[in-house]
Amino acid sequence: MTRTGNGLKIFTAGFLVLLLWAILLFWADWLCRNGIASANSRRDEVSVVLLEDVDRKKDPNFFPCSLLVSLGSDLPANVLREPAWTPLADAPRSVIEKIATGWIVFQYDAESGLFECQYCKGNLRRQKGAAYYLGPGGISSEKKESLGRFRDPFVYQDGQWGKFFIYDRQLRQFFRFNLWGMGPRFSAGPVLGDSIEPIQFGSLQKGREIVVIAKEARRWRPPKTGQTGGYAGQWRLETVPSNFRLDTAGPWLLMLEADGQILRLNKESLCIEGPAGRLPAPVDLFGSRTEGRPNKLSAYRVYPVCREENGRLVYYGCCAASAAPEGVGLAVECFDAQGQLTGRNLFHSAAEDSVSENYEVELMSRLFERGDGALAITARFFADSLQPAVFHGLSFLCAEAIEPRAGMRALFIRPHSFIGILRRCRQMSLPSQLFSTFLMLLPSLFVGLWVGLCLRRKFLSFGGSSRAARGWFAAGILFGIPAWITFNLVRPKEKMVTCLNCGSLRRPDQMSCHVCRTGWDFKGLESPDWCLVEPLEESESPVGPAMSERQTEL
């Protein structure tokens, strides 16, 4: 084998092995992670008192309206149906809705910079021309220059079809189009100030398969509201009352900013009226509180809560839930209509009937205590230690730069490994982070060192050069077990033969023995042509007559 061909084979086989190894470790990690998450979701542990009607508090039949929040699997059940791992950046630019008589298609045309609204009667097979063209300048049934151009818009459909809100990131304006009723209507809001940077509005969510809020609770215990007694010991089948709505904020439109603030937007004036709350900051696997920013969370969901009173919707507040970057910790907070924390976001412990304000920490600590949670975390650390050390180092460096949802499907550089989580701990200083990382890296380093030493010894026994042996040693340390598998795939397959000179195994395809440097023309052991002892008499020769004859010849 030529030197180049050998290098190519090592490189290609190494990459293939590394890829397969990374996929296997990903699934091992996923299984462990879902072991932790399912322990939470099975028990329906996090429940939140959403709001409580003070006037009806004395009613013996009254119970607080509650929501149920839990963590589900981070892998969609159907990859084709659920656009898996939808990043936040994919703000919607089209709405397709089926109505009783046909389909409504509202989509953005990047070439013209206009939204096209089509109505397809019956089915979508035959698309007609657009019924309306919508631009920042208004609505028209034809494309016109006066309509202007949207530059970077995203759209939200409010309630029934025909009501669309559009925000353009570059124009920094909200627009409202109402195609329902007495002809199309259009209005534009004021240009937003530089301090406000909406990234989502209307439906505020990311990673809907992670945070699940059950509107209709199954058989579960209602959360306590602080007083003793209450519902302890009772099991009731409860649902959210039918006059509550969790899909609209009534006269407002909720809007999320990049820093996690939730604001209220007036649907009529398209002006920002005030705060509505903020995304809660969950704790991670190590109990450290993470940032409640949309791009730092693996999932979040905000539910506005409205109640129908006398035919109109009254906004009561909102419930915000968010999951930690690695998708394990969960935090839930509720806010009133003015955006103030209600203080009723209680963690209800089903096991002990206790109420804790510090619910996230308690959730995590109890997950650790649980048998399956502890087992899953241990197994996860074990699988983590089999990851090559070089990727651990890169994970440490890139942990904060990678978006959490993108990190969930990462194969090589994994920001949600233990080292990555450690790197994100804001409560720890850099030296302590480095020290803890080193401690966590020790198993990987030990595995790598052991593999490296094995590879070096084995490579030298195959007659490899010491320089290449050093390369295999380094590869063993950096890549660990994949390097060992690669070596066994690409190592010389020739059967070794015994060297006639030194007796050790040597390669048949090399000119000389790699131990004693003897060539193939070596005939065997020969007696030296000198002698230390005096020649003996012929009769006293201890080696017999044949040897004596040879000595005589010499």
């Binding site: 084998m1 061909g5 190519l8 084979k9 290609t12 086989a13 990459f15 293939l16 890829l19 397969l20 996929i23 296997l24 990903f26 699934w27 892998l75 990859v79 084709l80 149906r81 656009p83 898996a84 791992w85 089209s94 397709i96 089926k98 389909w103 298609v105 989509q107 089915n123 979508l124 097979r125 698309q127 499907r409 194969l411 795939l489």
Partner: protein
């Protein structure tokens, strides 16, 4: 070269028959979904994507069979005595493996485009989605075929069968992890190149 490719196809004609049957089944699946009057483009997309795992398994088995029977029957030794070189034999083998995948993907793409246009909602987003799914499926097939080539050059009987099947499952799970986007396409492409090069190096450096 064409003679070598034809010889490979004639040797492995059973696999090509399986490819044809698979393609017909996929088209029938698509057509039935379309003629039932479904409005969901998603249903058609499922019809496009679901045949690919089967195709990948068949392609991997094809790769294994090409290399394994070559080694067992000493086909290359015979061919090299007829004035060919190893590079030509291997290239013809790879071409004979890529041809069914290419025809399968192109045919399925054409049929699904027609069905999309006539029986389902069709716009640029769906078209891009469909094209990326087809490209990912094609590259997954080539990666599995390459793994079959790399794993098939052995005298063992266990690894080419069970081992290759395991590797194909692992590789295909990339689609579940990463979806059908550009990342998975790059990974599949790199895996294909790596696997084919490993197979080539094993084939080139072996004594026949």
């Amino acid at each position: 070269m064409w003679t070598l490719i034809r010889r490979e196809i004639e040797d492995m004609w059973v696999f090509y028959l399986v490819f044809l049957l698979l393609w017909v089944a996929a088209v029938l699946l698509l057509a039935s979904a379309a003629f039932r009057g479904t409005e969901e483009a998603l249903r058609l997309k499922e019809g496009v994507v679901y045949p690919y795992p089967f195709l990948c398994v068949v392609l991997a088995v094809l790769g294994v069979s090409q290399m394994y029977f070559d080694r067992m029957r000493r086909l290359s030794a015979f061919l090299l005595s007829r004035g060919t070189v190893r590079r030509q034999v291997f290239a013809a083998r790879v071409a004979a493996g890529l041809i069914p995948n290419l025809f399968f993907t192109a045919g399925l793409g054409a049929v699904s485009m027609v069905l999309f246009r006539n029986f389902a909602f069709y716009n640029a987003a769906f078209r891009n989605d469909l094209i990326s799914s087809l490209i990912s499926g094609f590259l997954a097939g080539t990666a599995c075929y390459g793994i079959g080539l790399a794993a098939g050059w052995t005298s063992s009987r266990v690894f080419p069968t069970l081992g290759t099947l395991g590797l194909v499952i692992i590789v295909l799970s990339l689609l579940v992890i990463k979806g059908f986007d550009i990342q998975v396409q790059i990974l599949f492409l790199t895996a294909t190149v790596s696997a084919v090069l490993v197979g080539w190096e094993s084939y080139r450096t072996s004594s026949l």
